[in-house]
């Protein structure tokens, strides 16, 4: 802290604490209230939940809503599907976008610019424009090529997102900021291009790869519209889709719904809290690349 800000802070010393707390505490209560009320409802009895005016604290904390929700819908299965889809999508994106991004960053090949422009165009088009053909293509793939990647299987949630134009663009931009001398030196020493990418470029790109992984994971985990279209069974549902179906079937059983909701959002919340810095830095990076 420099002298001026110290002097400005000193001027306010008649407060026992910073007045900003008076702003931040109510704001935080508002931000956290939906989470708190969600948890409170999930441990109440239906009679308590449907009592008006509501009791702000549950009388007895009970977890039977959770076992009831687990009995009514396979949340473990939804979690497993979400995790498989998200992790596989992230891994595919890291590998495929790195390969393509490196090609666009460093190789000269016929049609590179044209191909790159086409790729960028897909970034501008909203998903709703491409979802109908994507549905038709996915259906065709399931019938003719690979059943596991067709409509109704979780592969349908992975294959279309296994590489994204955003990922290729993002890594290409990053690779171009690396000093080319290292790569040239490795080439002179006889390393193949793949070896240069694996041994020289990728180790230098850890922050960019981490950002891409975090953003892809969040996207995949929270995706709803495409699973809604592509998945038609409880068994293959991801958490958002499973939760939506669960809500449709139990729309007035609030204690049950909130228990299911807690189970749906808890895993991501835990991952997020553990890796908070890393997620926040990644989201901030979208803003910095965008401006």
């Amino acid at each position: 802290m420099t002298a001026v800000t110290a002097a400005m802070a000193g001027r306010k010393s008649r407060w026992p604490f910073s007045p900003w707390h008076l702003v931040l505490i109510p704001a935080t209560i508002v931000l956290l209230f939906p989470f708190a009320w969600l948890i409170v409802t999930s441990v109440e009895t239906p009679a308590e939940a449907l009592h008006f005016p509501p009791d702000l604290t549950p009388h007895v904390i009970r977890f039977s809503n959770y076992s009831a929700a687990l009995g009514a819908a396979p949340f473990g299965r939804f979690f497993f599907n979400s995790a498989v889809v998200a992790v596989t999508t992230v891994l595919c994106n890291l590998v495929l976008c790195a390969l393509a991004g490196y090609a666009f960053a460093r190789f000269r090949f016929f049609g590179r610019t044209a191909l790159f422009i086409v790729m960028m165009a897909t970034l501008m088009v909203p998903f709703q424009v491409t979802m109908i053909p994507q549905f038709i293509i996915t259906k065709w793939i399931g019938v003719n090529l690979l059943a596991g990647a067709g409509i109704g299987h979780i592969g349908a949630l992975i294959v279309p997102n296994a590489a994204t134009a955003f990922g290729v663009f993002f890594l290409r931009q990053f690779f171009r900021t690396l000093p080319i001398e290292y790569e040239e030196a490795a080439r002179v020493d006889g390393a193949s291009r793949l070896a240069v990418l694996l041994r020289v470029v990728l180790p230098l790109s850890a922050p960019a790869l981490a950002t891409l992984a975090a953003l892809t994971f969040l996207d995949s985990w929270n995706n709803f519209l495409w699973p809604l279209i592509a998945i038609n069974s409880t068994n293959a549902s991801t958490l958002p889709l499973g939760l939506a179906t669960f809500q449709g079937a139990h729309s007035t059983e609030w204690t049950l719904l909130m228990a299911g909701n807690v189970m749906s959002l808890a895993p991501m919340m835990v991952v997020f809290l553990i890796a908070q810095r890393y997620f926040v830095r990644s989201v901030a990076a979208t803003g910095l690349t965008g401006t």
């Binding site: 800000t5 424009v129 994507q134 279309p160």
Partner: protein, 279 residues
Amino acid sequence: MTPATVIIGTFGAAPIIWSLIISFQNDNGLSSSAPFAGLRNYRAIAHDPVVTQAIGHTLVYTVLFVPLTMVVGLFLAVAMNRKLRFMWVYRTAAYATMAISTISEALVFIWLFDPSYGIVNYFFSLLGIPQQQFLNSPSEALYVIVVMTIWGWSGFAVVIYLAALQGIPQDLTEAAAIDGCGAVARFRRITLPLLSPASLFLAVWLTINALQLFDEVYLSTQGGPLGATTVLVYYLYEQAFVNFNFGYASAIAYLLFVVILVITAIQFRVGRRFTYYRS
């Protein structure tokens, strides 16, 4: 040809052209052949009152959601851009909204805003406000969706603004303070202009997402009551995957695309005049 270009070509690029072709066809998604329909789908859009309503709802939603989210995000980010005890608690509370899916978010808010047993109506009764129907009311449902999505996006806006605020060198504001510039003037004349690239980014990003609103509507109102929350993408979804009017739905998708392009272009054009880049 890398695998990535094959995947992006198949699922990203080719469908752009393909859906344009479908939009000129009478495709019902079931029969294998789709007769050519010319401009019939587009003409039908022009005469479909639901489309006009859906555009209206989408625009009302966007006009409310985008600026309000930016104001909330800016306010919280400015408050959080300082060293205080427990700051990590405040920041984590804001960031946590980013980890919650749109479906979880909508489900919590449906319960909070339940007309009979919801806690919001209880708070209203404490303030002497009569009980509201919220999502069951055609005149209120869209605003409840605005509230839930502002909450859901506030963490994102905070992250973007906080990153931008931390990029502002302290000596600028300090120099202004020495010159006798008050806190409000410092904020208006120095901080806000230096935040303008972040504001432009947020405005564009939030608008693109607002125009594509779907998840919350699907879960909370299914476009109702009485069509009051039928936004463009919800109507498109109904046409495509409930009625299987692929041709008509593709035409609506292209309409959406044009709306997004035009609005984004205007934002960049207008934004350029108000945006200050330091470098």
